[in-house]
Symmetry: C2
Subunit: 343 residues, 2 copies
Amino acid sequence: MNLKQLSEILGLSQTTVSRALNGYPEVNEDTRLRVQAAAAKHGYRPNSRAKGLATGRSMVIGHVIPSSSQHEMVNPIFGDFVAGAARKYSDHGYDMMFTNADDTSIEEAYRSLFQRGAVDGIVLQGPKVNEHRIEVLTRMGVPFIVHGRSTGVDVPYDWIDVNNKSSFLRATRFLIDLGHRRIALINGLEDMDFAQRRRDGYLEALHEAGLSPDPELMRSAEMTEVYGHHETRDMLRLDDPPTAILTASMISAIGVRRALNEAGLKMGKDVSVIAHDDDLSYLKNGQDVPIFTATRSSVRRAGEMAAEMLIERIKSPEDPVKTRLLEAELVVGGSTGPAPDRF
Amino acid sequence: MNLKQLSEILGLSQTTVSRALNGYPEVNEDTRLRVQAAAAKHGYRPNSRAKGLATGRSMVIGHVIPSSSQHEMVNPIFGDFVAGAARKYSDHGYDMMFTNADDTSIEEAYRSLFQRGAVDGIVLQGPKVNEHRIEVLTRMGVPFIVHGRSTGVDVPYDWIDVNNKSSFLRATRFLIDLGHRRIALINGLEDMDFAQRRRDGYLEALHEAGLSPDPELMRSAEMTEVYGHHETRDMLRLDDPPTAILTASMISAIGVRRALNEAGLKMGKDVSVIAHDDDLSYLKNGQDVPIFTATRSSVRRAGEMAAEMLIERIKSPEDPVKTRLLEAELVVGGSTGPAPDRF
DNA sequence: TGCGTTATCCAAAGCGCTTTGAAAATGAGT
DNA sequence: ACTCATTTTCAAAGCGCTTTGGATAACGCA
C-alpha cells in the first residue's frame, strides 16, 4: 500500500493525503480524519526511503562499531550506552544505524555513512588522545557528538563526558586519607582519552600528598576480568605490594577481587579497591550497600544525553558548540578501609 | 556530488556511469576505469536512499532492542552478538539498524521497520516460549531469523540456537557423576525459551539419576551478578544446602562466587559451580585453566552465523527453512570437584 | 558497398514521497 | 449579485538512483 493507492481509494490527491498525514494546516479537519482512518485501516506506512529522498533527511543516526582486528573486544558499556541513546532516538522519530569497521577503514566508514545519505548525524564513541576522527567529521560537515573528549584536538566539537580526572583524583585522595601510600592504578588502554585523564587525576592526587608514583603500580590494558586478575596477582608479588588499587571498571575490579581472594587477602581490609562503575544494568554494584567503593556514572544516562544533544545539533546546525561534563559520584562500599598496619 | 554531476563531468550519460560503477558488462573497460577514477577523485558515493528506492532493497538488516519498562536490563550478550553479526553484514554490503521498542509496542516496531521499507530482513532475539512475534513476522512475509527457538510455535522458521537442553543435561550429569546430589539451578527468566530448555536438561539428568527435584533449589530471574549472589546466599541458609550450583551465565556465576566467599566456602571444594559461558570478549573464563567449569558457546559466533543465514534467506526467499543447532562445549575448570563428604 | 552483429552508450520512465504554485470552492462583505 | 479573501484541494516537478528499450557506432563478412 503506497500513497498513490491510498489516495485513489480516498478519491483525493496524493498531496492532500500526504499533508493530512503529516499534520499540515491546509487541510480540512474532516478530510484529515477520513485520511487517517483509511491509513490505519489499510496499514499504510510511508516508505522511509522515498520520504528520505524527498525531504533530504534520513531520520537515522549512525554509530560505528570499531571491530579492531587485534583485540576482538566489544566494550561492555556498548549495550547500555546504545540502549540509552536508542530510547531517545525513538522518542524523536529517529532510528539508529550501525556499521562495522576495522581499524584501518574506520574513517572510510564514517564518511560513507554520511555521504551516502544514510544518516543525519553520527555518534563517535571511545575517542583516543589526538583523535583524528574528530577532524574528519568536522571537515565532512556532519552533525556529530563525541562520547568522551580528545586531548590534543583543538577544533571545537560537541561532547559529553564524565569528569574522569576529577573522579580519579577524588578516589585517590580518598584512599590517601585512609592512610594508603602504596596505591596502584589498573587503568584502561592509555591511548584512550578517558584513561589518560584518569591517570592524570591519580597522579595529581599522589603529587598533592607528596607521594611519588611507582611505575610498577601503574598498569594499563583492556578492561577485562582476566586483566584485572593478572595485574593484581602480579603486583601482589612485589616486595612492597599495593595496599589499595584503583581500577577502571567493575569488570576488571572483579578480576582484582578474584586475585585478592586467591592470595587469601580480604578486600577492604588487607587491600582496598575502588572501581569505576558505569552502572551497567546487568552488573549493578550490589543492591543496598555497594560491593565496591566506586566512582559511579551511568553510561546509559550518558547515552540518553548524547542522543538528545545530537538531535539538538541536527536541528540547529549553527548553534554554538555544546559540551556537557558529568561529575561521577563517589559511593563508598565495602571494598575500602584504612590502610593496614604492616609494621 | 551526485550521479548527474559526475556524468556531466565525464561527458557520459547517467546510465553508463551507473553501469560502470555497478559492474555491468555492457560498458567498455576503458570507460569503466575512467568512471571509477573520477568517482574516486570526486568522492562520489551513490545515495543509498535513492538507490534503495530504485532497487526496492534497502541493504539494511533490522534488530529491535526490547527496552522493557519493568526491568531496565540490557542483555550482556547484546554487544558480542551484534559485533559478530555486524561484521558479516558489512562483508555483504549490509548495514544494521536498531529500533527501540517497549514491551507494548514491540510488534508494531517490527511491522514498522519492514513495511516502511527500512530493512530487508530482521533478526529476532531472545524468543520466549510461545513467541508471538514469530507468527507476526511470518505473516508479514519479512525474511527473518531467530536467535534461539520458541517451544510451542509450530510455523516453520529459520533459527540458530545452542542446544541448551543437552548442555545442561550434560553439565548436571557431570555433577552427579562427581557425587553431588543437592544440585541447584540458578536459571534465567523461565518465560525465555532458552531458560526453559536448560531447566528441562537439568530435570532430565536428575530424573535419570533417580533424584527428585527440589523447588527450593530451582531459582529463576534475570541474569545479573546481584541475583546470582542473592539466590546463592539464600540457598546456603537452607537446612540442606546445595553442594553444587548450575548457573545461567558467567555474570550470575560471579555473584555465586561472591556469596560463597562471603560464607567462607571454597568454590570447587565445598560447593561446585558450573556456569554457561557465552564467551564474551570482555569476560573470558580465565586464560589457561578456566575459572569456572562451563558450558561454552560463543555468542559472537552465533551472531555471525545468524547474519549469514539471514542474508541467505534474503537472497533465496523460497529455500526450505534452515535451522542450526550448536552444541556447547563442556569445559572443565577449577570450580567443580567431588561432592564434599558431609557425614 | 551493404547488411547483420555486437559492443557501447543514451533518453526517459519509474521507485514513493514532499512541496511548489495554481486552481477551485467557499465565505464574507458591500 | 459581485468582488475579494480565505480555505481547501490538486497537478506536476523533483529528490538521486536503476533499468528498460532503443539508438548509434564499430566491426566482420559477403
